[in-house]
């Protein structure tokens, strides 16, 4: 599997992925929706899958001595790699946001605190569960699965924002007060768990879908 990961890093992941990571810096903009910066990972994923279709990437992997499901595992690695990196790069910018540029709180949505990162990981999980199994029904058509995946991602995020703004959950989950930090940690941990589970579930469904695909 380590060779498949090497192949993904060398051939599948476009250099543009690393440029997009910098856009996590959008978190520092005052009164700007926190979700925007971390959403560029979805654009990176879209670009990589489009380029890989032009490059017949799956056909190339199929030429290598690997079982079919390693193609699925490789793509799950790449998607998770992009998403995790985008979140990790976002952390220092989130700190700048809450302590420097948005000290009084973000006026247009949740602050970039632990709750935000937990929700982001849940949104990534939803995207992964929609996009990857759907993509692996054909192994090359990424457009519609991407569109619906992104829609799912933003709908879940908007649902969380509405939930926070129209209930008193905002008191516990928004901001950076020390008093309610435990609640925010719970959301973050829930996000991490959901993200990991989503990858496992998606991999199982994707492998099953990919079994019938002609390479």
């Amino acid at each position: 599997m380590k060779n498949v990961i090497y192949k993904e890093l060398k051939l599948f992941l476009s250099p543009i992925v690393y440029f997009m990571l910098i856009l996590s810096a959008l978190l520092v903009i005052p009164a700007y929706p926190s979700i925007v910066g971390v959403s560029y990972s979805l654009l990176s994923i879209n670009i990589c899958f489009s380029i890989s279709r032009a490059n017949n990437d799956n056909q190339f992997t199929a030429m290598l001595p690997v079982p079919r499901n390693y193609i699925v595992l490789g793509k799950h690695f790449s998607v998770a790699f992009i998403e995790i990196l985008q979140v990790l790069i976002a952390i220092p910018f989130a700190l700048v946001s809450v302590f420097v540029t948005n000290v009084a709180g973000n006026l247009v949505g949740i602050d970039s605190n632990m709750t935000f990162f937990g929700i982001t990981l849940i949104c990534y999980g939803v995207f992964n569960l929609i996009f990857l199994p759907w993509y692996f029904k054909t192994g090359y058509k990424a457009g519609i699965p991407m569109l619906i995946g992104v829609l799912g991602y933003f709908l879940v995020y908007v649902a969380f924002e509405l939930l926070l703004n129209f209930t008193n959950l905002k008191i516990y989950l928004d901001g950076i007060s020390a008093e309610f930090v435990g609640y925010r940690v719970i959301v973050l941990l829930s996000g991490i768990v959901f993200f990991i589970v989503s990858l496992f579930v998606s991999e199982k469904i994707s492998s099953k879908n990919f079994d019938g695909v002609v390479l």
């Binding site: 060398k10 017949n56 030429m63």
Partner: protein, 280 residues
């Protein structure tokens, strides 16, 4: 070396049915059939690139599906020209490719690059069609494989390059330890180098024998239409008629040598053409 038993694959508009054959060490098996007959489906099913509906594949005495990872290292295969990562430098592609093979032979790889005059610093898209085929072969030949499966390796090559390639195929099997299965619809390639012929039509194997047996068991019969009886016509595998007469392919065992017709041994192309005229 390669044993295929009862291989079938069902598609809504095409069925590969009960394909069985053996390939022993040290031989070249030519796999012929018209476009769409099922050659690529068979090859892809053997390599698990298409999940077969049923059937058993053994390579080097081991079940392929149960030992896919190990056996894929021992099989070198290409599907025509390299059509992946066309904007990538060959060097970059090779550096990734070689990581997957524990028996990668760098010296042999360099030898084939030189032999085929391929520069590693070029991008794949900068190669001609024929050179892309040769690049695929270079990769397939450089990782210590014992069985080679080439799908249409001679398509797109000029006659000289094709001839060189066929010489190379014979060179590969000359040590008696390696075997080649290659599909083609250019039957003259097989006239030159194949030991065995596997002939597929509409997803079913219609002939599986040595090249000489296949040729010697058939006859091309030519004569005037006036002498052609209905009974004889039924015995033909395929027949062509025009105002000057007829010519048809028949199994030697069904032909009475006392009949007043000209006969000759067919070549592989004629066998393929007449078999495909069967229902005409």
């Amino acid at each position: 070396m390669l044993k295929v038993e009862g291989l079938s694959k069902h598609y809504p508009e095409f069925d590969l049915t009960d394909v069985s054959f053996n390939l022993e060490r040290g031989y070249i098996l030519g796999f012929i059939g018209r476009n769409g007959a099922g050659k690529s489906t068979t090859i892809k099913s053997i390599l698990n690139l298409v999940t077969p509906t049923s059937g058993k594949i053994e390579i080097l005495g081991k079940n392929f599906q149960e030992n896919e990872l190990e056996l894929k290292e021992k099989v070198g295969y290409t599907f025509g020209e390299v059509n992946y990562y066309s904007k990538t430098k060959i060097k970059t592609l090779a550096n990734v490719y070689k990581k997957f093979f524990s028996k990668w032979d760098e010296q042999l790889y360099r030898q084939y690059l030189n032999r085929f005059k391929i520069s590693e610093n070029k991008k794949v898209e900068e190669l001609s069609s024929g050179m892309k085929v040769k690049l695929g072969l270079t990769f397939a030949l450089s990782h210590g494989a014992e069985l080679f499966i080439f799908d249409e390796p001679t398509s797109g090559l000029d006659p000289i390059a094709r001839d060189e390639l066929l010489d190379l195929f014979q060179e590969i099997v000359s040590d008696g330890n390696k075997s080649i299965l290659f599909s083609t619809h250019i039957t003259s390639d097989l006239d030159k180098c194949a030991d065995y012929i596997l002939f597929i039509k509409d997803g079913k194997i219609v002939a599986n024998s040595t090249k000489d047996e296949l040729i010697n068991s058939h006859l091309i019969v030519k004569g005037s239409l006036g002498d052609l009886t209905e009974q004889l016509e039924k015995q033909f595998i395929g027949i062509k008629k025009n105002k000057f007469g007829f010519s048809g392919l028949i199994k030697k065992e069904f032909y009475d040598s006392g009949l007043p017709f000209d006969t000759e041994l067919p070549n592989l192309e004629e066998i393929m053409v007449y078999y495909n005229k069967e229902e005409a």
